[in-house]
């Protein structure tokens, strides 16, 4: 479904992604793990069209999209949930979701919005209760739910999730991971960036490890979870070990 080939992206003199290749097949949850500064968000933003790659290709459903505008990529079926629970704070929950469907063709919109809203209320019932509240007044977990909901409104074939559990209480993070799993059961393909590698590998089919802009390991989730190198670097027994 998604195929990234020899991608290079950077800012100014700094090259962040150095020859990254990966692929995501339909129906998969693929997780991308890596330390801070490894280039995970840069990769996500490049796929979503917010950044232009210097070299390489991004193929979606067989077609190159690396030079397309972000708005066009959304209408082709890739939707990004950016890092840090981003939403339109002064707008209500309902308005945020409605805007999420912005890229849908006019004719389908009204119907599609209704259908999608039902689905999102089902996935996150709390959002329905809060639908008339400004998004800025929601709790962290609710904001992340809304951020995911907003991205789902454009009916994506591929959902890009950039650190959805960041800064959330463990219980709330767990709820988000459950929702991600349910999304996949409903047929959405997902590329997930996570610091919480253990939780991410538990729901993913495959994974890639990104280190200073290069893919250094890839494999099925079970393989990655059992690889000594990766356990040492990303799944450490406790935080103390990781820090030292």
């Amino acid at each position: 479904m998604l195929r990234v080939q020899n991608l290079r992206t950077g800012y100014g003199n700094l090259e962040v992604l150095r020859n990254v290749s990966l692929h995501v097949d339909a129906g998969e949850i693929v997780v991308l793990i890596g330390a801070n500064g490894a280039g995970k968000s840069t990769l996500m933003n490049t796929i979503a069209g917010l950044l232009r790659p210097r070299e390489g290709k991004v193929l979606f459903l067989g077609e190159p999209i690396q030079s397309r505008r972000a708005s066009e990529i959304v209408s082709r079926g890739i939707s990004l949930v950016p890092e840090g629970r981003q939403l339109f704070a002064p707008l209500t929950v309902l308005e945020n979701l409605t805007l999420g469907a912005y890229s849908l063709p006019r004719k389908q919109r009204t119907l599609a919005v209704q259908g999608k809203l039902e689905e999102i209320w089902g996935l996150f019932p709390i959002l329905y209760e809060r639908r008339r509240q400004p998004a800025g007044t929601l709790s962290g977990g609710e904001q992340q739910m809304l951020a995911v909901g907003r991205a789902l409104m454009s009916r994506p074939k591929l959902l890009l999730l950039d650190e959805p559990s960041m800064g959330l209480a463990p219980l709330v993070a767990k709820e988000i991971f459950l929702a991600i799993r349910r999304l996949r059961e409903n047929g959405t393909t997902i590329l997930l960036v996570e610091q919480n590698a253990r939780a991410a590998l538990a729901i993913a089919t495959r994974g890639y490890v990104l280190e200073v802009g290069m893919i250094v390991a890839e494999g099925k989730s079970e393989e990655l979870s059992s690889s000594k190198e990766i356990v040492r670097a990303y799944l450490g027994k406790d935080y103390k070990e990781v820090w030292e």
């Binding site: 979503a48 708005s71 990004l80 339109f88 002064p90 707008l91 805007l99 912005y102 454009s154």
Partner: protein, 295 residues
């Protein structure tokens, strides 16, 4: 007498309200103070004059139509040029707010001097299409042109507020203003929204330019500068980016100026607005109606 000054203040405030709205739309989205906004008024007024004088000899309704068209065309051309050559490149830089402030001040001086050298350095007569001789209404002296000013502002202000708060495009304006990157990721074509905002803002400035021409009966290359600054003042008074607040604050500013001139001194005519501004900034830094991020 006070009632009379209130009426005059309302008419003046109507022009400021249009300008404040025009400022508010742009500032709300790009967060850059556009000092050249006042020049859009001048361009609108000059465009109207061009439409009027080029159509000499034609029937009056047609001439008025061409006048409006001229105002819109010239002002929008100016607004789009500012967006394209000034703000779009600056928004890609690292500190657009400061750069934009200085660059737009430069653009303002540049445009004034282009107009001065290419058209005239003195007053140009603007046709008195609406009578300015006051009529007695309930003991007040109200000129028909003041009615026109108030009515036009009321209609345009209502349209602007409805446009921002009720339409889909308005929703995207709020979205772009709040979080440009997410708006982009959401599939909103940010560049198109920016262009739309500049057009809407130029239309309001054009209307203000024509109104000023009708009211004062003259046009001048620097006619927009001071009203532009006052429009900006009203925009801050109303809470930056808050369209409703901007309209109301424009009217208040006009009242303050008219009453201040009448009861204190006419020497400080252009100062009252700024006294009001300083007072509001000290007491309510988010403006009279703003909470910073309100619509």
């Amino acid at each position: 007498m006070t009632a009379q000054y209130v009426v005059d203040g309302l008419a003046l405030g109507a022009v400021y309200a249009l300008l404040a709205l025009s400022y508010s739309l742009i500032f709300g989205v790009i967060r850059i103070v556009n000092f050249a906004q006042g020049e859009l008024i001048t361009l609108g007024c000059m465009g109207a004059l061009a439409g009027w004088s080029l159509s000499a000899g034609m029937p009056t309704p047609l001439r008025v139509g061409l006048m409006v068209l001229g105002a819109i065309a010239v002002s929008c051309a100016g607004g789009l040029a500012m967006e394209h050559f000034l703000f779009r490149p600056l928004l890609k830089r690292s500190s657009p707010t400061l750069l934009g402030l200085i660059a737009s001040l430069g653009a303002s001086i540049f445009l004034q001097n282009v107009l001065r050298l290419s058209i005239s350095s003195s007053d140009i007569v603007f046709p008195r299409l609406v009578p300015v001789d006051p009529l007695g209404v309930f003991g007040l002296q109200i000129a028909p042109v003041q009615f026109v000013l108030l009515a036009t502002t009321a209609v345009l202000a209502t349209m602007t507020v409805l446009f921002v708060e009720r339409t889909r495009l308005g929703l995207t304006i709020i979205a772009v203003r709040d979080n440009r990157e997410l708006a982009e990721a959401n599939g909103i074509a940010v560049a198109t929204v920016l262009r739309g905002v500049f057009i809407a803002s130029s239309l309001l400035a054009a209307a203000a330019g024509v109104m000023m021409g009708l009211y004062y009966g003259v046009a001048r290359y620097d006619m927009g500068f001071l009203p532009g600054i006052k429009g900006f003042t009203a925009c801050i008074l109303g809470g930056l980016g808050n369209v409703r607040g901007a309209a109301v604050a424009g009217i208040l500013l006009g009242l303050a100026e008219s009453l201040g001139t009448a009861y204190i001194s006419s020497a400080y005519k252009d100062g009252y607005a700024f006294v009001l501004l300083i007072a509001v900034l000290l007491l309510r830094p988010h403006g009279l109606f703003g909470d910073g991020d309100a619509r």
